[in-house]
Every structure is written in structure tokens, then in C-alpha cells.
């Protein structure tokens, strides 16, 4: 039936081309949309995972209770009575017994590396300008084993931090906002004491504005001293051998501690939920596009089957059976759908290439485009599925036509 099917297709080139273009357009739109969205998402996820940590143990801000005070103040008394119960919050959260964690992590084969952190909200000051941001105290040697921050240093040297002496690696955006440059001295205010001078010994740029515009990294001891919190840490960032183990790992460790153990998925739940909304909308739009394309095929085949009633009658009279007649039309729908799909993939690819050269502002300064094989397989799969579904009904109707009715009535 291939022979006749192709004769039918090429006998009405305009109709066929139009149908094919419908599918091609749908597939192009799908590829382009999905390439932008998933490209952006996987870029962001990659950044989240690799610039922060797979799993992070963080200090919990604790409420002070009666029991806490009884234990530390009146340990030897059996009963203590308060006229007003004590309440309040510990001034600053810290990890209570880091050494215990280190020991445990050292003995866990899933752990590649871990690094202690101390984070604080600070004001970055230069001249009359002050900008609020985050200062992270890091241990540069173990830090680079946990995150990819080294890859994003665009000036200076990350390891220059390790010597101590109040040096800071700062985001490019933040540096620009302050009007400062490499090797300048800036002031950092942590709140209570006088601002402390830090020297800009490096600049990083990840492409994610929330990081580049607000973050600075300094040596952990310098930050502890600036905050007057010697040897305290607020977080331990952990890298595992396998990123997909993060969630399970976090749950397991979270079981037996008061401290917060979160995988990257949990600490970025809000972003991920935006992504799943995006994906939902994208799926919705894609389905809508494919329905329109499917209708093209469905319509054209329905019309064709009606126009071809006589031909079907005569084919049946010399022995072509219902299945063969069904194939005759199925082949046409599939051919148009699949060819349209392939053309769509091509144009989607061209569109993606073009978009990837554009420079557009936003959370990232360039569009991140997904060129993965998966995306393209998905595109062609959808075109095939749409054409199978939309060809099936008209083709089956053609197969069911009764030859005698057609031959008798002469139409």
C-alpha cells in the first residue's frame, strides 16, 4: 500500500505540504520552548548543586526554654520555680559539636569532601555606598573540593584567602555596585562593632545574579574574628559521590540531630517549585500545539477518505482487505507526521542555535539552551504519537467502509 499511499500524497502536494508544515511548526515550537526552559533550568540546577553543596548541615536557630536555663544555671537543684518563664532566642545559631560531624563524615564512604562555613548578613561599604549582602567564611582548601567556585574566578586567586589577613573574593556585580576594583580595600560592617577593612583579592562571576550581586567569600578565621565568634561555624557543606543520593543522605542524617540537614532539593524547594510550574505550563502549551497539528492530519485524512470512497470500493473488489485499506491511510498520516516532525526538529535546532547567540539580561546574562538528544527524541516521539492518534480514526473508518454500498451507489 506504500506505493498508492505515496501517490496519494504527491497527487495533492499543496494539501500535503500544508499538513506537514502544521506538524513541523508544532515540533519547532516544542523544541524551541523546551530548549530554552529546560536549558535554563538545568543550568540553574547545576549551579545550585555545584556552587553550594549537595547536602548542607546548618545550625538551627533555637528558642531558649526553661529547661535550657535550669540545666546551665541550677544544675544541682532538684526543683526550680520561675515567676515568669524565660523565653527568647539564642543570639546566633551555630553548629554545636562540629568535630562530631567531621568524624561521622570522615567515616562515610558516600562523602567525597566537606567544608565548614560561617555565614552572616553584612553591609559592604565603600566610600558613601553601603550594600547589604552575605559574607561567607570558608576554608579555601576544602571548599574547592565541595564546590566549583574555582571555575568562576575571573580575577585574582581563590587560594589567596588561605593566608588570612582579611582578604575577600567578591561577586562581580557586587564589586561593580560598590564602584570598587581588584586590590581595593572595602569595609564590612557586621552590625555591632566598627566596620572592618577587607582587601579585594579576587572576583568571581557565576552568571547567577543573586550570587554575583550579593556574595563575598573570606577566610573562615577572619570572618569568625570579625563576628566575634571564634571557632564557631554555621554550616557544613558536603559533596557526595552521587548527586542523586543527596535527598536520602539528608534524610538519614537528619534523623538523629537537632540540626537542619538539607539536600540541595530541599534548600531550593521554592525555585524547584517554580520550575515545576514552568514545566506544567510548557506541557500544557505543547499539548495544545500538538492538538492543533493533529487536527490538521485528522481533517485532511477525513476529507481524503471521503473523496476516495470509489477507490476504496474498487480496491476492495479486487481483494484488498480492510486492514490494507486502513494501512493506505495510516501510512499517509504517519508519513506527513514523521516528515513534519523531522523538519520541525531541524527548524527547532536552527532556532535554538540562533537563540543561543543572543545576549539577554535576566537571572543569567545569556540564554542557556538545551541541545540534548533526549529533547529531540521527545520532539519526534510527540510528532509520531500525534500522527498515529490522528490518523487512526479516519483510517479505521476507511477500512470499515462496505465495498458493496460504494460499488452499488456508484459514489
Amino acid at each position: 500500500m506504500l506505493f498508492l499511499a505515496f501517490r496519494h500524497i504527491f497527487a495533492r502536494p499543496k494539501q500535503s505540504l500544508l499538513t506537514l508544515l502544521g506538524v513541523a511548526l508544532g515540533t519547532t515550537a516544542f523544541i524551541t520552548f523546551a530548549a530554552i526552559m529546560t536549558g535554563f533550568q538545568s543550568f540553574i540546577i547545576d549551579q545550585l548543586v555545584n556552587n553550594d553543596a549537595y547536602v548542607k548541615i546548618s545550625a538551627k536557630e533555637k528558642m531558649v526554654t526553661e529547661k535550657d536555663l535550669n540545666e546551665s544555671l541550677f544544675k544541682d537543684k532538684i526543683h526550680t520555680f520561675w515567676t515568669t518563664s524565660p523565653s527568647g532566642r539564642q543570639e546566633s545559631a551555630k553548629i554545636n559539636y562540629p568535630l562530631g560531624w567531621y568524624k561521622k563524615l570522615d567515616n562515610d564512604s558516600r562523602v567525597v569532601a566537606y567544608t565548614p562555613l560561617i555565614g552572616a548578613m553584612v553591609l559592604y561599604i565603600k566610600g558613601g555606598i553601603s550594600i547589604s549582602g552575605k559574607l561567607q567564611g570558608v576554608d579555601p582548601i576544602s571548599q574547592v573540593k565541595v564546590t566549583n567556585i574555582m571555575n568562576y574566578i575571573i580575577a585574582g586567586d581563590y587560594q589567596s584567602l588561605s593566608g588570612g589577613g582579611n582578604k575577600i573574593i567578591i561577586g562581580q556585580g557586587l564589586l561593580g555596585k560598590m564602584g570598587a576594583k581588584l586590590n581595593d580595600s572595602i569595609l564590612i560592617s557586621v552590625g555591632k562593632a566598627d566596620p572592618i577593612p577587607f582587601k579585594v583579592s579576587g572576583v568571581f562571576k557565576t552568571g547567577i545574579m543573586t550570587l554575583d550581586d550579593t556574595f563575598g567569600y573570606a577566610y573562615i578565621r577572619d570572618v569568625q574574628r570579625a563576628l566575634s565568634r571564634p571557632s564557631e561555624i554555621t554550616d557544613i557543606a558536603i559533596r557526595l559521590t552521587d548527586v542523586s543520593e543527596s535527598l536520602g543522605f539528608a534524610d538519614e542524617y537528619g534523623e538523629f540531630t537537632d540540626e537542619k540537614v538539607q539536600s540541595w532539593e530541599q534548600s531550593n524547594a521554592n525555585i524547584l517549585s517554580v520550575f515545576s510550574l514552568q514545566n506544567f505550563i510548557r506541557t500544557f502549551i505543547t499539548i495544545a500545539i500538538m492538538i492543533v497539528a493533529s487536527f490538521g492530519i485528522y481533517n485532511i485524512l477525513n476529507i481524503l477518505v471521503n473523496q476516495k470512497r470509489k477507490d476504496i470500493g474498487i480496491l476492495r473488489s479486487f481483494g484488498y482487505d480492510a486492514g490494507e485499506i486502513q494501512n493506505l491511510f495510516m501510512i499517509q498520516g504517519l508519513f506527513l507526521g514523521i516528515t513534519g516532525g523531522i523538519i520541525g526538529l531541524f527548524f527547532g535546532f536552527v532556532m535554538s542555535l540562533y537563540l543561543s547567540t543572543l545576549r539577554i539580561g535576566g537571572m543569567t546574562d545569556k540564554l542557556m539552551i538545551n541541545f540534548s538528544l533526549e529533547l529531540y527524541s521527545m520532539g519526534i516521539l510527540m510528532a509520531v504519537a500525534a500522527s498515529v492518534i490522528s490518523s487512526y480514526l479516519p483510517a479505521r473508518a476507511a477500512g470499515k467502509l462496505n465495498p458493496i454500498d460504494i460499488v452499488r451507489s456508484g459514489e
Binding site: 477507490d311 470500493g313 480496491l315 476492495r316 479486487f318 481483494g319 458493496i404 460499488v407 452499488r408 456508484g410
Partner: protein, 221 residues
């Protein structure tokens, strides 16, 4: 050999009987006409005995095998290999050339290359040797009907059924067509059963079946 045994055919609801129990036998290599007034049931009989339609009751045997006992697949194979149909309207496939149309039944089993030579010979014999590659719309009505006859004969069928094959043709073309069919019976191993209104064409038959209001009014040899 065809045996038709007491076939009846009704249409509609409530059923109206159109054929009231018809029986006859047709030996091998016959040229058989079916005649009768308009509405007498000629077409109904032709289709009911040729597997395209089912009789309401009664049996039809081809070479001793009852049609109703064949599977769907066997019926289609039988039609493809042993039968040819010619209708009042030619029903050529408009996308295919004359020769491609003729070879279409053979194409079902991939025999179109084997039958190619026969296709060319039939069309040549039918006076269309220089029009093999023409599309149907580039042929006259008579030429189209000749192509349709060549198509019905391509598989060297044992049985050819024709419902008013000359109905749409002038007398000259009608004669050409009838002679071609007659020749097929004489030269091949083929039985042709044709419906006609034309007494001259009916007179060409070896055996004549005459219908009157759904009954067999006469069979003549």
C-alpha cells in the same frame, strides 16, 4: 463451476425481499448474461453470488467450496486471484497511469513485476499500446473502460463479474468491450457473467439468465 442454490436477498427493516430463491449452475468457460427489467434484481444477484455481498439465505459454491465457509482472508485471496470485477463506471484510480491501474490487483501480492508483460499485452490487444502511461483523465470513456477490463483480466481470473460494462458507452465502444470479454472466455479459462440491458449483447451469451421481479424467469442455452 458455480452453483447457486436457492439464494434469497432482503433489504431494509422491515425486510423487503428482492430475490426470492434463485438456483442455477454455470459450468466452466461460459459467457453468461443476466437480463431483466430495471429493478428486477440483476445487480443484487450478481453481487450476492460474487462475494461482494452476502445473500440473506441460500448458498453459493465456487468449484464445490461454499463461500460462507471461507474465512475473511480466504475470501479476499479468492477475490484477488480468481475473480475480476467490471462496473458500469470504470473506477480507475486517478493517481495511477493506465498500466499501473491494470497491475494494481497483482501488486497486492507483489506480482506486479511478474504480470507486467501481460499488462502491456492486454492493453496492446485493447488498442491502447501508445497510452500505457496516460492518467485516466487523459483517456476517453471507452478507453477507460477497456483499461478497467484489462485490470479485471490481469490475474487470469477464473470468474469475471461485470455489471452493465457497456452502460456508459456508445454502441461502437460497447461492441469493442463485449468482444474483448467474449475473447477472454474463448482464449482463457474464464467464465464471464455480465448484466446487460442490450438484447444484442445478451444474444452473445452461451447461457442466459433472465430475471423477473426477483425470480428466475428463464435460463436459456
Amino acid at each position: 463451476m458455480i452453483k447457486v442454490n436457492n439464494i434469497k436477498k432482503s433489504f431494509g427493516e422491515p425486510p423487503i425481499e428482492v430475490l426470492h430463491g434463485i438456483s442455477f449452475e454455470i459450468p466452466e468457460k461460459q459467457f453468461v448474461s443476466i437480463t431483466g427489467k430495471s429493478g428486477s434484481g440483476k445487480s443484487t444477484l450478481l453481487y450476492s453470488m460474487s462475494t461482494l455481498d452476502h445473500p440473506t439465505s441460500g448458498e453459493v459454491f465456487f468449484d464445490g467450496v461454499e463461500i460462507a465457509s471461507m474465512s475473511d482472508k480466504e475470501v479476499h485471496e479468492f477475490r484477488n486471484l480468481k475473480m475480476g470485477f467490471i462496473f458500469q463506471f470504470h473506477y480507475l484510480l486517478p493517481e495511477l497511469s493506465a498500466l499501473e491501474n491494470v497491475l494494481m490487483p497483482a501488486r497486492r501480492t507483489g506480482q506486479h513485476t511478474v504480470r507486467y508483460q501481460r499488462g502491456v499485452e492486454l492493453l496492446t490487444q485493447f488498442g491502447l499500446s501508445n497510452k500505457l502511461d496516460r492518467l485516466p483523465k487523459q483517456l476517453s470513456g471507452g478507453e477507460q473502460q477497456r483499461v478497467a477490463i484489462a485490470r479485471a483480466l490481469i490475474q487470469e481470473p477464473k470468474y469475471v463479474f461485470a455489471d452493465e460494462p457497456t452502460g456508459n458507452l456508445d454502441s461502437t465502444n460497447g461492441e469493442i468491450v463485449m468482444n474483448l470479454l467474449k475473447t477472454a472466455t474463448r482464449d482463457g479459462n474464464t467464465t464471464v457473467i455480465y448484466v446487460t440491458h442490450d438484447p444484442d449483447f445478451a444474444a452473445l451469451a452461451d447461457k442466459r439468465i433472465v430475471l423477473k421481479d426477483g425470480n428466475l424467469s428463464a435460463t436459456e442455452f
